[in-house]
């Protein structure tokens, strides 16, 4: 594989998201002579294209079409493929978000490429690509060999550093206009509800997560968890004991039947550490547990533990963090 690498940009509030900047970084590192090509779709593509150029990618193709603003991958996947064909790309990188994973599945078929998601390491050699990815909720890791001449990868958010700044002039190229499959005409995004910063639904993209469990005892105490999270700029999660009891919506749930997360730091407060919770968070880089029971299983997977009453420890921790962060 020595062709160009195509990075599909994901835009939020007019800016490329972190997962795209991470994909650009990886693409620049892997690119041989073929170089890196960017792609953006939607009604306002220029600012995002310029951001590509700020990170060293000069050649940006765009599909300017307001229809693509709803972020439905299936609508513009054919345009991505047309750009891959036009630029001689043999590898497409996307951030492993909701959009990115949908894109990867679409592109694998429409471009006849091998695909892998949740990728945390990439190696490119004479025999093709080798990728590493956590599986079984982080309880195992697999390395896969992607065979054939084309591949699409969705990179796990936070697994790679963002591309460094390296300003170049941008060369904008329109992509061939390809209409989405007919069924899409009947599909409509009716609205977007943005969760307040640091609340449950942002979990899969958060670099720090603070989760509360039954130990918090009642919904009116959950603000302790939320304040600790706010001091850290973290997202808030919960065990199923909490979501089942209705203290917080199901979107907060981490675990086998909730979300799988892998932040830099996961703080489990008043959570016992049932296997169904563990599988959702064990691949976090650093795990901290706060629990009054020294024999709670959560301490077996944690890196650092505090045995104590969360009602005393958590407020002390929140004020210490506020202090060191000057909040």
């Amino acid at each position: 594989m020595t062709g160009a690498i195509l990075v599909v940009g994901e835009v939020h509030d007019g800016r490329l998201i972190g997962a795209t900047l991470e994909a650009i970084g990886k693409a620049r590192e892997l690119a041989g002579d073929g170089g890196v090509v960017g792609f953006v779709a939607g009604s306002t593509v220029e600012p995002a294209a310029r951001e590509f150029a700020d990170r060293g990618v000069a050649n940006v193709h765009w599909a300017k079409n307001a229809e693509f603003d709803d972020g439905a991958a299936g609508r513009f996947a054919p345009s991505v493929v047309s750009v891959a064909e036009a630029t001689g790309a043999d590898l497409i990188l996307v951030g492993g978000t909701t959009l990115g994973r949908d894109l990867a599945g679409q592109i694998a078929i429409r471009w006849n490429a091998a695909a892998a998601t949740g990728v945390t390491e990439v190696r490119r050699d004479g025999s093709g690509l080798h990728v590493r990815r956590p599986i079984f909720g982080g309880r195992a890791t697999e390395t896969r060999h992607l065979e054939g001449s084309r591949a699409v990868l969705a990179l796990r958010p936070h697994a790679f550093p963002e591309a460094s700044e390296s300003r170049v002039d941008v060369l904008l190229e329109p992509a061939a206009r390809i209409d989405p499959p007919a069924g899409w005409r009947e599909s409509k995004r009716l609205g977007v509800e943005t969760a307040p910063a640091g609340s449950g639904p942002g979990l899969t993209d958060a670099s720090i997560i603070v989760s509360g469990g039954r130990g918090v005892r009642a919904p009116e105490n959950f603000h302790l968890i939320e304040e600790l999270a706010a001091s850290l700029g973290a997202a808030v999660g919960a065990s199923r004991a909490v979501t089942d009891a209705g203290w917080r919506p199901a979107s907060y749930q981490v675990g086998q039947t909730g979300k799988t997360v892998s932040p830099q730091l996961y703080v489990a407060v008043g959570i016992s550490g049932a296997i169904q919770h563990i599988v959702g968070m064990v691949s976090s880089r650093v795990i901290v547990a706060i629990n009054s029971d020294a024999s709670a299983p959560i301490f077996k997977v944690a890196d650092y533990g505090i045995v104590g009453d969360l009602f005393q420890i958590v407020p002390a921790l929140t004020s210490e963090i506020r202090k060191v962060r000057g909040l």
Binding site: H12, I17, A73, G74, T97, T98, L99, R101, D102, A104, G105, Q106, A108, I109, R110, A114, A115, T117, P134, I135, F136, R139, E142, T143, H145, L146, E147, G148, S149, A151, P181, A182, G183, E186, S187, K188, R189, L190, E193, A195, P201, G202, T204, Q256, T257, G258, L265, I275, V288, F299, K300, D303, Y304, G305, I306, I313, A316, E320, I321, R325
Partner: protein, 259 residues
């Protein structure tokens, strides 16, 4: 409404994972393969829609080697699915999700389908690729990360929400479409004994998987278990304030997780 639900046989959640002798994959010896995780939820969702829309049928479909695929299809029938198709992966079966999607699409295309339901991701490989790949193969709109899927009969539309990184989106679409379900019911139904007994004799249609169109595929090279964490480093303290100071210092200086 004709509903097709894709179910993948995956190891039971409680399985103790072991590496096969060749080092490339999970050792399947003694592992029980079940209908689990989001696929269990997908079946529950299919059955809820069937109950809500009179005259509906649910067709469960699985791609995989014998006898795993057949077993989970019987489990799906015992739960209330009306029909089942097993797409035989043969002995040299591939675990690549794109290969699975091609096999499933070939089997689904000739069946009546107003809705093709999948799990958001399979409980073992967690690829999250199959729903979108099915959308491309069947040329239908596809939506992953879906919760609250409902059918609005007055307007002949599905309505649902999609979970995104920043919140959620409300959507509507016409049939047919492909949905990757992220919803987890805390209490999916369990099969009753008479239904389980009856499912043992239920007919299961069998089709062969098509040959892949090219060499583009992925194969496992290495399967690793995490180095067991040695247990937490416990923080000794006299006051909560001291515990907090010690932990914050460790997180900044030793673990370097925040500045």
């Amino acid at each position: 409404m004709e509903i097709v639900v894709c179910v993948k046989p995956v190891p039971e959640a409680e399985t103790r994972l072991r590496v096969a002798t060749d080092g490339t994959r999970l050792d399947p010896e003694g592992v029980k393969f079940v209908l689990a995780g989001y696929d269990e939820s997908a079946v529950e969702q299919a059955l809820l829609l069937k109950e809500a829309v009179p005259g509906s049928k649910v067709h469960a479909i699985a791609f995989g080697p014998p006898p795993r695929a057949e077993e989970i299809l019987r489990a799906a029938i015992a739960l209330g699915c009306d029909q089942a198709t097993w797409v035989d992966a043969g002995s040299k079966s591939s675990d690549d999700p794109i290969v699975a999607a091609r096999a499933l699409a070939a089997a689904i295309a000739p069946l009546p389908h107003d809705l093709v339901l999948c799990g958001k991701q399979a409980g073992d490989d967690e690829a999250g690729l199959v729903a979108a790949a099915l959308g491309a193969l069947l040329n239908l709109p596809d939506f992953g990360y879906v919760v609250d899927l409902r059918w609005d009969p007055a307007r002949s539309r599905f309505t649902f929400h999609r979970a995104t990184e920043s919140g959620q989106e409300a959507w509507e679409t016409a049939a047919p479409c492909v949905v990757g379900l992220q919803q987890a019911w805390n209490d999916p139904r369990t099969a009753k004994l008479p239904a389980i007994l009856k499912s043992r004799k239920a007919p299961i249609a069998k089709t062969a998987a098509p040959a892949p169109p090219g060499p583009e595929c992925s194969a496992p090279e290495k399967f690793e278990l995490p180095v067991a964490r040695t247990g937490a480093k416990m923080i000794e303290y006299k006051t909560p304030e001291e515990a907090a100071q010690k932990l914050v210092r460790i997180l900044r200086e030793e673990a370097k997780v925040f500045p």
